[in-house]
């Protein structure tokens, strides 16, 4: 449900806290990543330092509290949960290579997004945050999507070799599932879905940031 500006001030304080907490989680990940990298001097093993907060983070999304389309947020949450649990966590081999692209992209995006929500709820939104939220995605979305696709692609050979999460015939329930094919179908589904999300954000950007440009023209 979309909340109007006046309703924001009536929201009880605990929702502000949960937004704030969401922000903290992503900051924790970001800081953890940077520290681990500086300490080890390489990418290897970085995954383990962020595994716990990373796996919990997508589950922290709070539908319904913030004014965002349920369907789009739903897709985002699903893809995040899927990537962390069903791919990165399940397939050890992808953990210390390509997954960093999307982790970084997500981290930066989410910090900005949560700051945006937090400040909106407090009715005190600095223009910089709004600008960042509607501008950074132009680079971060493609970066995140590329990272996600690369991660899934990297996981494919291992899924095929081990038959992970797959069920074959014959069995008494007369059912089969091929996780390898499923992952390929997921990758293909990015083709119709990603442009829709991306252009939705671009349209939002024109709407939200466009107003300010109109005002400056008037003056």
């Amino acid at each position: 449900a979309k909340l109007s500006r006046t309703q924001h001030s009536k929201i009880p304080f605990n929702k502000d806290i949960s937004c704030f907490n969401g922000n903290i989680m992503w900051l924790v990940i970001a800081v953890g990543l940077v520290r681990a990298y500086l300490a080890r001097g390489s990418y290897h093993g970085l995954y383990y330092s962020i595994e716990k907060p990373l796996n919990v983070c997508p589950l922290c999304h709070i539908p319904g509290i913030v004014p965002s389309s349920v369907v789009l947020t739903g897709f985002q949450v699903m893809s995040r949960v899927f990537l962390t649990w069903a791919v990165t966590h399940s397939v050890r081999e992808v953990r210390w290579t390509v997954c960093y692209y999307f982790v970084t992209a997500w981290t930066v995006t989410e910090i900005i997004r949560y700051s945006f929500y937090t400040f909106s709820l407090l009715n005190h939104l600095p223009y910089l945050i709004k600008w960042a939220r509607y501008t950074f995605f132009i680079v971060l979305y493609p970066m995140g999507v590329t990272g996600e696709l690369l991660t899934i692609y990297a996981a494919l050979p291992y899924v095929q070799k081990t038959g992970l999460y797959s069920v074959t015939l014959p069995n008494k329930y007369n059912f089969s599932f091929d996780y390898y094919t499923f992952l390929i179908l997921i990758m293909i589904s990015y083709i119709p879905l990603f442009p829709q999300l991306y252009f939705h954000m671009i349209r939002q950007r024109k709407k939200v940031l466009g107003h300010v440009e109109d005002y400056s023209k008037v003056e």
Binding site: L169, K172, Y173, N174, F175
Partner: protein, 307 residues
């Protein structure tokens, strides 16, 4: 005599002005005038003309005199989009599963490994399942042609793509496993299959009885709405407890088929169908309650006492 003006429901532009409309005319007069005078692309089935921009459409049989308007009546028009008749949609969506299932049953090439092409399963339950599935869809096709009386002639065109994807997709998915060379028959063998077949046939007869009873509520060509009651046919006695027993029996049929084939995709199909039918049953139940003051209080939408 009246003046009638029709505005676009969204933009409020004046689309049409009809002079000297007689009060005893039906709304269908307006629909046809609109079609002829304003835009021939907007055939009557595609028009929604209402008193309020967000209100319900005027029905063809509404008499202008009985509408709450002054001497100049203002109506709002909404384009419902391309329409397609219910009969067309039903026939298409039911023929698909019939044909598709048979393709898997006869093991047409490119589905299973080439050595199985055009072979038949060695399990007799697979032949039984094919007969039941085919019977079910032939029954549905015949009911569409000869039994059902539809209150709305048409539905939006995009529905045919949605519905066909659902029916044809699930039919292919189920048929693939039931007719697979590596199919495993039910654990409890003949007992399980026999029980399932009895449930299936019982519910098929029940479902058909309800369709006949509903048809008999409505004289040919009319769109009257009445409360359905149990008839002499024992299969209709379930009307005492349920508003939409056709859905109850349909669920029973597919549960029978699931037990008969012991196939998880069939169980999924049954579940999804049950969810959709529950939504429809609740809607129907609610509109019965709204329309009829004396609606029997004991009835539930789809499952007696439960749902």
């Amino acid at each position: 005599m009246w003046h009638v003006e029709i505005l676009d429901a969204k933009t409020k532009d004046k689309l049409c002005f009809l002079d000297k409309v007689r009060t005893f005319f039906f709304s269908s007069f307006i629909y046809n005038k609109f079609y002829v005078d304003v835009n021939p692309q907007w055939y009557p089935a595609r028009q929604s003309i209402r008193l309020d921009p967000k209100g319900k459409s005027l029905k063809d049989e509404d008499v202008l005199q009985h509408l709450p308007v002054g001497t100049t009546a203002t109506f709002y028009f909404r384009d419902l989009g391309a329409q397609i008749s219910w009969v067309t949609v039903f026939l298409t969506e039911y023929t698909g599963p019939l044909v598709i299932y048979l393709m898997f049953y006869f093991r047409v090439p490119f589905i299973y490994a080439p050595k199985y092409d055009f072979t038949t399963s060695k399990h007799w339950v697979v032949h039984l399942a094919c007969m039941c599935h085919s019977f079910h869809y032939v029954k549905r096709l015949l009911e569409t042609l000869f039994v059902h009386r539809f209150s709305h002639g048409t539905m939006p065109l995009r529905n045919i793509f949605k519905n066909c994807t659902y029916y044809w997709g699930f039919a292919a998915w189920m048929a693939y496993y039931i007719n697979h060379p590596l199919y495993t028959p039910p654990i409890y063998g003949e007992q399980q299959i026999r029980l399932a077949l009895i449930i299936f046939l019982f519910c098929q007869i029940g479902n058909f009885s309800i369709h006949i009873a509903l048809r008999n509520l409505r004289p040919p060509g009319s769109k009257t709405r009445k409360i359905p009651y149990p008839t002499k046919n024992p299969f209709t006695w379930i009307f005492l407890l349920v508003s939409c027993p056709n859905y109850t029996y349909e669920l029973g049929s597919w549960l029978g088929f699931t037990v008969m084939t012991q196939c998880l995709p069939v169980a999924f199909f049954t579940l999804v169908g049950f969810i959709q039918m529950t939504v429809w049953a609740k809607g129907k139940h609610r509109s019965y309650l709204k329309e009829f003051r004396d609606y029997p209080p004991l009835r539930s939408p789809i499952l007696p006492f439960i749902l």
